[in-house]
Amino acid sequence: MRRSSRGIIITASVLVICFCALLVMMFDYHGAREEAGVTYITKGTIDTGAANLVSAIYLNYRLFDTLFELLVFSVAVLGVRFYLAQQRGNEEEVTRIPESQVIRTSADLLFPPILLLGIYLVLFGHLSPGGGFSGGTVAGTGLLLCAVALGADVVGRRFHEPTLERFEWEILLAILLLALIPVLFGRLPFTDLLPRGRLGSLASGGSILIYNALIGVKVFIGTWVIIHYFVRHRGEI
């Protein structure tokens, strides 16, 4: 690995060390102010009905930010698809991992529990740590396990591409419509209109459950699409 020029090394080290030193020294640990945090903790469960306050924040109080985050995710998926659309960008031959009985059996055994774990994380996101993003990622990497065992094209044929694409934007549209429905009732967008339910039960938290489910499916599809396109571009796993 060739090195950068001496001047750059010295300047970079000096600047970065000064930067870190400044931050560490100027960090004032006194004067913490817990205003919004206290409000969330004391009124979070009453306002939203969810036990998991973090879910309450990003799916109720600050749902707008989560919408942008979802858009960033969708843009990433679409960007990956746009640029890696041609197959086999690599000219070299890539040898596939030889078919291994160990991987095959463990994938058979593990994939259903992984999927179940993903569904659990999504559905119970408002009661315990989890939520749409983590659940969707877990399920998506479960599919990756299947792809390692069976071959990505086999799994890809199972999950029809155009259907997945349609699902993605349909889910995005559904989330937007859910956010806009309160406007019909004369309230502001992103207001939660569903009943709060009994704290700690599955049917609580208002529309947090619906959002979690939608986000979970979207992240699942998105993760799989990204992995699939990367694999297709390279050759095979």
Partner: protein
């Protein structure tokens, strides 16, 4: 409530564009019409004095996300409409995939959100979306230099926003809220605590990477000159301004006048110096974007009402004529087959007449010839400036602008050329007409009392003198080509310059 509808409508249209790939152009036209209606309703509401502050979800300000519309934001939405309409017209006959239109919708939606945003983390997420979308738009044609320029942009912008997030962490720790209005209230009693200075420097550094301030936005010349002309027009005319708008919102909470003044002066002068000695048309326009941002930042740094009004006028004016220049430059480069200005001058017979007229109008605007758009903004800015140092800086920047655009004068001979298609001409008219008619239109933007300050004889004469002086400067300088250091535009050097810029801002905050 309409405030929240504006971006949401665009996000909805983004999803729809993916679904109905065949009618994407009609969809984007429809979305612009819907926007115009919503903006009209909002302005009507504003003039009636109805409160236009909403907190999404109906929560209180401290725990929900606030969106607020004021005169500043509504003026900017007009710019968005005009640029959006022009770009749609320009791209009417090109075959573009629905993916491109989806990116356009997301860009417009994020721009609307930033115009109304008042929450630190909302700004972060929106800036990230804007970065990703611009990055994908610049690299749309997959040419290697575009991909490298957009990769540099993504890395630098991501680094900048990481620094911004550190600042947000510090602010949240000490003030307990993310809402800018509440943060401003909390900081009233301790405006100079060390953590305030540190946090504000971090925030400004992060936003400055995206605002087009010279030391931080070294990715800009490469990215804006490599992109397709419509994308460059949108980026230079609209997206860059959003960084400056965020800086303006930050000034309501932190005292940033000295850093912004120094940065504005630096950007203006350095950008114009580089522009004088650049002979590639699109790259010169990109350097000009940097230097005009210097004007706007100076206006915001001054902070007085007239300064802000001048900056606002200049934001709109610059968006219009930079957009027009990029679109016209795109047509010119495409038809002449050359990106270099001497080459373009040699082949000017191939450039359509409408493109050359558009270039002429844009050039007159940016030079500040009265009574076009640039003149209005510049004179209002100078009217709001008290200190002679800043006046001199403003005059120097104007001189440099005129000198660098004087290169294009041989292009403006009125001769017959091939004609361009009607959508392209429509695009030129959408942007060119407001530039020409800016003076009467400006009465809608700025209260008449401030406007009359800029309409004395003195500003007229001054701007004509500046134009003359700039042409003279061009004559003097055109003999010796001068090679300015281009190394700072590489990735590693750019990061080092950003770090040094952070220290500069921190020092200026401590001193100011």
């Amino acid at each position: 409530m309409m405030v929240a509808l504006l971006p949401l409508v665009h996000f909805g249209f983004a999803a729809l564009s993916l679904a109905w790939g065949r009618v994407t152009r009609e969809l984007i036209l429809l979305s612009l019409v819907v926007d115009a209606v919503l903006v009209g309703l909002l302005s009507a509401g504003l003039s009636q004095g109805k409160p236009l502050v909403i907190v999404l979800g109906g929560w209180e300000k401290g725990i929900g996300i606030e969106l607020a519309a004021d005169r500043f934001s509504l003026t900017l939405t007009v710019l968005v409409l005009l640029l959006g309409g022009a770009v749609v017209a320009y791209l009417w006959h090109e075959r573009l995939r629905p993916y491109f239109f989806m990116l356009l919708h997301l860009l417009l939606g994020s721009v609307y959100t930033l115009v109304f945003a008042r929450d630190l983390f909302n700004i972060y997420v929106t800036l990230e979306l804007l970065t990703l979308v611009s990055f994908l738009l610049v690299g749309y044609e997959r040419k290697p230099y575009q991909i490298w320029a957009s990769l540099k942009y993504l890395l630098l912008a991501s680094l900048g926003l990481g620094i911004y997030l550190l600042g947000v962490a510090i602010i949240y720790y000490h003030t307990g809220t993310l809402n800018l209005g509440l943060v401003a209230a909390r900081l009233l009693d301790q405006p100079n605590a060390p953590w305030v200075l540190l946090a504000s420097s971090l925030l400004v550094t992060g936003v400055a990477v995206k605002s087009g301030i010279f030391i931080f936005s070294l990715w800009l010349p490469a990215a804006h000159s490599s992109a397709t002309p419509a994308v460059s027009a949108l980026l230079s005319g609209l997206v860059i301004k959003m960084g400056v708008v965020v800086l303006f919102r930050l000034t309501s909470a932190f005292s940033l006048s000295l850093p912004l003044l120094v940065l504005g002066a630096l950007t203006g002068l350095l950008g114009v110096i580089y522009a004088i000695f650049t002979y590639d048309l699109k790259r010169m326009l990109a350097f000009h974007t940097l230097s005009q941002i210097g004007y706007i930042t100076l206006g915001i740094g001054i902070g007085s009402e007239i300064g802000i009004a001048g900056s606002l006028e200049y934001i709109v004016g610059h968006g219009l004529f930079k957009g027009l220049l990029f679109l016209a430059a795109g047509v010119a480069v495409q038809t002449a087959g050359e990106g270099d200005i001497p080459g373009l001058i040699a082949r000017r017979a191939k450039i359509p007449l409408s493109a050359r007229v558009a270039l002429l109008v844009g050039t007159l605007g940016i030079m500040g010839v009265p009574p076009l758009a640039g003149f209005c903004g510049k004179s209002l800015l100078s009217a709001g400036v008290q200190s002679p140092v800043i006046q001199t800086v403003l005059i120097l920047i104007s001189l440099g602008t005129v000198a660098s655009f004087a290169k294009l004068i041989p292009l403006f001979r009125i001769e017959r050329g091939p004609s361009s298609t009607w959508p392209v001409k429509l695009a030129f008219v959408i942007l060119g007409l407001p530039i020409l008619l800016f003076l009467p239109l400006a009465r809608l933007l700025v209260p008449a009392t401030q406007l009359s300050l800029s309409l004395h004889v003195l500003p007229f004469v001054k701007s004509l003198l500046v134009v003359g002086g700039g042409l003279l400067l061009y004559r003097l300088l055109s003999r010796r080509p001068f090679h300015l250091p281009q190394r700072i535009f590489r990735l590693e050097e750019a990061i080092l310059v950003i770090l040094s810029g952070f220290f500069l801002i921190y020092l200026l905050s401590v001193l100011g």
